[in-house]
């Protein structure tokens, strides 16, 4: 119990002070924002994957939709960055909510397949609908606008944007944490542990899978919205199944059973992507793939799984 407080305190302290220490170890703020964006999406996915036990391979759909929602909102409707984030979150969440009934009855590999299929539908729509989404060139021409805080106008430069992302990351992570300690979260975990037992305790398993899917979609939409603002750009690639796979890799690499696992996974993934791709621009993914194989074989509970085991043994 008390250890959890220390761990959480340390994580938040490190995230809050990133602007101070990150440059010292050769990082830069845009990289940190990227990590947070993907960590948030992977944590949302992990609610489904690690805590409800549903193998979703289509989270990029809601991540990408969040991005398109935000981009289109800024292009056509408003100059408020915050409203655009909210709009993207709603778009991603609503899509997941509406597609939930299609996926909630599927299990295992069938769940993975249908979630991929739905994701690919959105990918092809975004790729083909040139006049609205910019087609395969992606949607550009919008940019994050300064924040109007009432007493000041804050331009979102790299450092300010990091804290902007951290603010929403904190909300998303806080919601997930509260959820996992609530009856609803307990029920999700029960479904992961044993669907049959849950059903015969009177739990309507499918409705809860739907709820988990929708909540993961909201979080993915939020992360996708922030991603669009980070790049001032969104392209169909963000909807593609490879992006879904990346999120799964982050969750598994860091540890599916751990709350902070996806954050650790995102740090490793984005870190390798950034560092290795400057030396091997065309095959940095080989490193990720290799690491993923090693992880699945030797530490199936992810990096935090090892840490936890060590701490237990000590």
């Amino acid at each position: 119990m008390s250890r959890r407080i220390y761990v959480n305190g340390a994580v938040w302290l490190l995230l809050l002070t990133a602007a101070l220490w990150l440059p010292l170890i050769g990082g830069y703020m845009a990289l940190a924002s990227r990590v947070l964006v993907y960590a948030l999406a992977a944590m949302g996915l992990n609610l489904l994957l690690g805590f409800t036990g549903c193998m979703s391979f289509g989270e990029a759909a809601y991540f990408g939709l969040g991005g398109y929602g935000t981009g289109l909102f800024l292009t056509h409707l408003t100059h408020s960055t915050v409203l655009a984030v909210i709009a993207g979150t709603i778009v991603g969440g609503l899509a997941a909510f509406l597609f939930g009934p299609l996926v909630m009855r599927r299990r295992g590999i069938y769940f993975a397949m249908i979630t991929v299929a739905i994701g690919q539908i959105f990918y092809f729509i975004a790729e083909r609908w040139n006049s609205f989404t910019g087609g395969e060139d992606g949607l550009a021409g919008f940019s994050r606008q300064p924040l109007h805080l009432g007493f000041a106008i804050v331009p979102l430069d790299a450092v300010a944007f990091y804290y902007f992302v951290l603010f929403f990351f904190a909300i998303g992570a806080g919601v997930i944490a509260l959820l996992l300690h609530s009856p609803l979260g307990h029920t999700f975990i029960a479904i992961r542990e044993n669907r049959r037992r849950a059903q015969f305790l009177g739990i309507h398993v499918e409705r809860y899978v739907w709820a988990s899917f929708a909540i993961a979609g909201v979080i993915a939409g939020l992360a996708g919205a922030l991603n669009a603002l980070q790049n001032n750009f969104i392209s169909p690639i963000n909807l593609y199944w490879v992006e879904s796979g990346n999120l799964v890799i982050m969750a598994v690499l860091g540890g599916m059973r751990s709350f902070w696992g996806p954050l650790v996974g995102a740090i490793i993934f984005v870190g390798i992507q950034d560092y290795v791709s400057s030396y091997f621009p065309n095959n940095w993914e080989t490193f990720i793939g290799g690491l993923f194989i090693v992880a699945v074989i030797f530490f199936p509970n992810g990096i935090l799984g090892i840490v936890r085991r060590r701490m237990k043994a000590a």
Binding site: P183, H186, T187, L201, I203
Partner: protein
């Protein structure tokens, strides 16, 4: 009025007739056993009652309602809660957490994303009460998969009790247990029956156990009811002796 009534129940799997024209009636507060050799259709009977799959024909009445088409999860809310022959628990959670899932479902708050303190206190209190009833208090914090087999089965029974069943269905509650564990489970079943007037329908293999505690017994063989009655009547029934008891004592 009877609590549970099966009229002319049959279940067919392809060409296999697993149950044929089974009649069963049970009053509230009874401890009722279904026995029979392997493959007699005992677990199939439980699966029909609990809604695991539907009956091919016949009617299932529970607490004054015909429940043939009621989904499994809803039957639990009606008061029909079962355990499984092969223990079904939440293996990686603690004993406390296992029971809490059921308590939260019973409190109809499983959908609550942020419960109040009063609700949490109430839930925890009820979990502790249940653990006390089944003698698991000392093990509350342990991960269920690390418990002995017998204790895991007790956890499953405790979870079932968390839904305050009107009728508790126990599928071979002592399966795979040693002598001591069996004695503990039998004591638990009898306690629930005597002290809390819990209605219990259970499947059992162990003959001595059944004759020792059941009010009434139904004997199944090849999917048909061979005999129904008090333990004494059933034991004296020549058909039963031929089909089952003879075999068991051989």
């Amino acid at each position: 009025m009877s609590l549970l009534r099966l009229t002319n129940i049959s279940r067919v799997f392809g060409k296999l007739v697993a149950l044929q024209n089974v009649e069963l009636e049970m009053e509230e507060g009874r401890l009722y056993a279904v026995i029979g050799p392997n493959g007699a259709g005992k677990t199939t009977l439980f699966n029909l009652i609990s809604g695991f799959f539907p009956a091919t024909s016949g009617e299932i009445w529970f607490d004054g309602r015909q429940i043939n088409r009621v989904p499994a999860a809803n039957r639990v809310a009606l008061g029909l809660v079962r355990t499984f022959q092969i223990t079904e628990v939440f293996p990686e959670l603690s004993v406390f957490e296992n029971v809490r899932i059921g308590v939260e479902a019973e409190a109809r708050c499983s959908t609550r994303p942020w419960p109040g303190r009063a609700l949490i206190r109430q839930i925890n209190q009820r979990v502790e009460e249940l653990l006390e009833t089944t003698g698991l208090s000392a093990q509350a914090g342990r991960i269920v998969s690390e418990l002995a087999h017998g204790d895991q089965r007790v956890v499953e029974v405790t979870m079932a009790l968390s839904r305050r069943p009107k009728l508790l269905l126990l599928d071979e509650p002592t399966a795979g247990m040693g002598q001591e564990e069996t004695a503990h489970m039998v004591r638990l079943i009898r306690d629930l029956h005597v002290r809390q007037q819990q209605s219990i329908l259970f499947i059992e293999h162990d003959m001595d156990l059944v004759f020792g505690i059941a009010d009434r017994i139904t004997v199944l063989n090849y999917g048909k009811v061979l005999a129904t009655g008090t333990p004494r009547d059933v034991a004296a029934d020549p058909l039963v002796q031929a089909a089952y008891l003879g075999e068991a004592s051989a």
